[in-house]
Amino acid sequence: MTEQKIFIRKLVEPGNLTKNRFKEAKVVVIGCSAGGFTLVFDIISKLPKNFPLPVIVVIHRSRKHKSSIEEILNTKSKAMVKVASEKDQLKKGNVYFAPSDYHLLLEPDGSLTLDSSEPVMFSRPSIDVTFQSVADVYNEQVIAILLSGANSDGAEGICYIHQKNGFTVIQNPDSAEVRTMPEAAINRCNADLILTNLEIFSFMETLSATINLAS
């Protein structure tokens, strides 16, 4: 077993409270911008079979270019991957990408809303907006991961989740292609974990195994 895996495994050893936080989680949210694209691609395509939570991904992308990342991932990944549509009901094991040019919000009934209001931090979709909305509905039952990016969108959102006692993971700025975004978040609040890319993969595996074992 690699060092990373041991580190992550420790989180779910008997007596460690993190285990309970995983078991009660309702959703995983992932945010990234410049330089995080490949990593998100790998995380989603390596997502374990029967991943026990819905996953929402917010990446900054231009509205001028049509991208087919969701289609490619849908064929590569074991999970169902799609661009979020309005009124989509979150289902475990499904991955929802925020469409370009819309913010993505979560309703109290677990359905998604698209929002065309002003960009936040020059971004639409904005990571802050989705993270805050998800935390408003699920409070401490949120697991958030913030990756590489070139602006500080996401820092406020992940710290909001942290304040609501959600579980927060930030990519180690040293392994991020662009360190601005994770660094802004680390400067702002104390995340539960700061992980390298490899550790993030093991984290997802451990998370999945812990929840599936418990249910």
């Binding site: 549509s85 309005e86 009124k87 469409p99 040019d101 819309y102 919000l105 979560l106 309703e107 109290p108 809303t113 698209l114 929002d115 065309s116 209001s117 002003e118 907006v129 805050q132 909305s133 408003d136 509905v137 909001y160 942290h162 304040q163 609501k164 006692n165 104390n190």
Partner: protein
């Protein structure tokens, strides 16, 4: 131990406020997205440092504040020629049909500050259809309609709008349709003569005319399923036979039973024609 934040306004309090606003002002927000309302109302309360109690008393005692509240809780972001491919679709697939009508009446529902309605006016003008067209822009909010009526926009925005305009495949230049002065761009008078802006609430108001084209984009994304079908029904009733309905790029008729009464003209751009 870290502090846990308490919400500025909880979902329960949102419900309370919806009831309150309906009782006092006759505006029914019960079909609106709670996530969006929460976000918008939180912002008002934070900016103006209002408690729930203060917000409620302002809503009762201050009519001007309610107009301001309406602006803030509804989303008024719009652009000229937003989604250029949509306008290309209208030009190529809808206008040839429309030209066979003697009078072309257009309704832009939820028009906000008017940019989209003026875009339609330009489109009609370019196909020499403007002189037999009449365009109605409606919104629930008086203040945004006043901006729409003035037709004066920030000149800086025209750069983005011109780019949209080019991408939509329009000929000439967007600057043919506005006069630039200082940092303002004013829509030319010729384009405004067949346009009327007025208040209309999609939730509570009914059919007021018969239209050849209705455009309502990025409005119904904030409505629940029930309200969406109600509004689509209103549009159906307001369209002439073979009239067109345009929705936003992420909206569609798929889930409503009325979809059987419409034909898809452009799947990607969500343009429909009434057939039933």
């Amino acid at each position: 131990m870290k502090d846990t934040v308490t919400d500025v306004i909880s979902f329960e309090q949102i419900e309370e406020l919806i009831e309150w606003v309906n009782k006092i002002h006759g505006f029914d927000f019960s079909g609106y997205s709670r996530a969006s309302l929460k976000r918008r109302i939180t912002r008002i309360m934070q900016l103006q440092q209002l408690s729930m109690y203060e917000l409620k008393s302002l809503l009762v005692n201050n009519a001007a504040f309610f107009e301001e509240f309406l602006i803030e809780v509804t989303v008024n972001v719009t652009e000229m020629f937003r989604d250029p491919s949509f306008f290309r679709g209208v030009r190529e697939k809808v206008l040839p049909y429309l030209s066979s009508f003697q009078r072309i009446k257009v309704w832009n529902a939820g028009c906000s500050t008017g940019e989209e309605l003026y875009s339609f006016a330009i489109l009609l003008d370019q196909e020499n259809l403007y002189n037999r067209s009449f365009l109605y822009g409606t919104d629930i909010n008086r203040n945004v309609l006043n901006t729409a009526k003035k037709g004066i926009y920030n000149l800086k925005l025209m750069k983005q709008y011109s780019e949209n305009y080019m991408l939509s495949g329009a000929s000439g230049s967007l600057s043919d349709y506005y006069v630039a002065k200082y940092d303002a761009a004013t829509i030319v008078n010729n384009l405004r003569k067949n346009i009327l802006f007025s208040v209309h609430n999609l939730v509570s108001d009914g059919v007021f005319n018969e239209f050849q084209l209705i455009s309502c984009r990025n409005v119904m994304i904030y409505f629940d399923v029930e309200l969406q079908s109600k509004v689509i029904n209103l549009f159906y009733e307001s369209l002439c036979p073979l009239g067109f309905l345009c929705l936003g790029s992420k909206e569609s008729l798929r889930s409503t039973e009325l979809s059987k009464k419409f034909k898809v003209i452009d799947r990607a751009e969500n343009i429909y024609q009434k057939i039933g």
